[in-house]
């Protein structure tokens, strides 16, 4: 067999064209660098959660993107609504404080949670309010555009989904779908629901990451009580970012989304 010289080695390493008698080796190298399997991305939620925990301590100068912050706050509220029966019931009948209600509706619009009344119309009215008000502000659109007759708009959802909110399931499917679109189909209706909850299709990725991270954490530890002043430790960690209204609105778009 021919000896592999330095030039050929470089070509092999670069994935360039090779002679026929090197195709077995080229195959092996290609397989080494094949696309990731879902199993290889398994620890992402935990890793991001660890980062968020550490990152909460060093937000000085840090621009925690608004979408993530919003999602964390939203999920914190949702955890309260889901884990506490009374809270869930309050959300279902529209009795939570308005920002909380809006977020609960954003997250569980398919689960029978109505939007707040009256509908929020002034996008700046929430400025200076606790973190989840950001979700309420920017949630105007998605709240109104959520598919009204979604597959989960059946009665009694609040009970059935208390352990596994449909959005969490959707996010899991979504992530698998991203990796293997052929193996894991995802219908346009599900994607619309996610896009509505994430405040835009472009935000689904990060929305789901945050949602799943929080869901994983909240599974073991009971959520906060759902008062609108301290939605959760993680959301409270970003309290210093409350007043950055302008960045709150545009921060999501300043990050790579290519």
């Amino acid at each position: 067999m021919r000896w592999i010289g330095r030039r050929e080695a470089d070509r092999l390493l670069a994935g360039g064209s090779v002679h026929a008698d090197r195709r077995g080796l080229a195959d092996l190298l290609a397989a080494l660098a094949a696309p990731a399997s879902p199993g290889e991305l398994r620890g992402k939620d935990a890793a991001v959660a660890a980062f968020v925990q550490a990152g909460g301590r060093r937000t000085a100068g840090g621009a925690v993107a608004s979408t993530l912050r919003r999602a964390l706050a939203a999920v914190a509220v949702s955890a309260a609504a889901v884990l506490l029966g009374a809270g869930a019931w309050a959300a279902e009948i529209g009795a939570l404080p308005r920002p909380v209600q809006q977020v609960a509706h954003d997250l569980f619009s398919g689960a029978g949670v109505p939007p707040p009344r009256p509908p929020q119309s002034d996008p700046t009215s929430g400025r200076g309010e606790p973190a989840e008000s950001g979700a309420a502000r920017t949630g105007d659109g998605p709240a109104g555009t959520s598919p009204p007759g979604g597959p989960s708009a059946t009665p009694g959802r609040g009970e059935a989904d208390r352990d596994e909110p449909p959005l969490v399931q959707l996010c899991r499917i979504y992530q698998a779908h991203q990796l293997h679109p052929d193996d894991v189909p995802m219908g346009p209706q599900s994607l619309r629901r996610l896009a509505a909850a994430a405040d835009g299709a472009a935000n689904i990725d990060r929305f789901c990451v945050a949602l799943l991270a929080e869901a994983e954490r909240d599974r073991d530890t009971p959520g906060p009580t759902g008062t609108d002043s301290e939605p959760s430790p993680s959301a409270a960690g970003y309290a210093s970012d409350r007043d950055d209204g302008p960045r709150d609105q545009s921060g999501a778009e300043t990050h790579p989304e290519r």
Partner: protein, 211 residues
């Protein structure tokens, strides 16, 4: 290099405390990290990878450099954590060519996932892990981690020339492997593995260009 600008942006964001930036880094680099560690640490790869990222989270504020430097830093940490693991486990291998690696790779909890998606990858990792350790590491860093000779040398703490030689020897040995030759014979008109580099990154990930 394609995708490097995205990683640089993600790195800057992560250093500023942005979890999205960190997520982009993780998603882009974890698959390669895990595969490298499966060769270095066998079944402990996932644990060692987690330890690696925890250290990254802890020390990211003090890190200075661009995305390429981050990649080197990350794999250096991973390598050190992997070596720590071996010391703790008291089964550090003096002779890496004894087949121990071969047994380790392929076991573990990831098997059921690999059965669906990564049979070829699993096969390739198993063969690389059967190489002498220095050769195996050099091949993994060059091919999977996407590091050049100088960067790989920094990870391994060796001279670039030594890394180049180790890589070449590893490739030669793999080329002579009976399974590789058998696979070659089984193939008809082969496709080129063009654009392979960075393809380890998952498609559709947030903000990451895969090629």
């Amino acid at each position: 290099m394609a995708g490097e600008a995205d990683l640089s942006a993600a790195l800057v964001a992560a250093q500023g405390g942005d979890a999205q930036g960190f997520e982009v880094l993780w998603q882009a680099l974890q698959p390669a990290l895990l595969r490298y560690l499966r060769v270095v640490a066998g079944d402990a790869a996932e644990d060692v990878a987690s330890e690696t990222w925890l250290q990254v989270v802890r020390d990211l504020g003090g890190f200075r450099g661009d995305a390429a430097a981050f990649r080197v830093w990350l794999f250096r940490i991973a390598r050190n954590r992997g070596l720590d693991h071996h010391r703790r486990a008291g089964r550090r291998r003096e002779d890496p060519d004894d087949g121990v690696l071969r047994e380790r790779v392929g076991g573990g909890a990831a098997v059921e996932d690999e059965a669906l998606d990564g049979l070829a990858t699993e096969w390739a990792l198993r063969l690389v892990a059967s190489l002498p350790r220095q050769q195996a590491e050099a091949v993994m860093l060059r091919v999977v981690a996407g590091l050049d000779v100088a960067q790989s040398a920094r990870v391994l703490g060796r001279r670039p020339g030594a890394v180049r030689v180790a890589t070449m020897r590893g490739l030669r040995r793999l080329a002579q492997n009976a399974e590789v030759l058998a696979r070659q014979g089984a193939r008809g008109a082969a496709t080129q593995p063009g654009g392979r580099r960075w393809s380890v990154q998952p498609t559709g990930s947030a903000g990451v260009v895969t090629r």
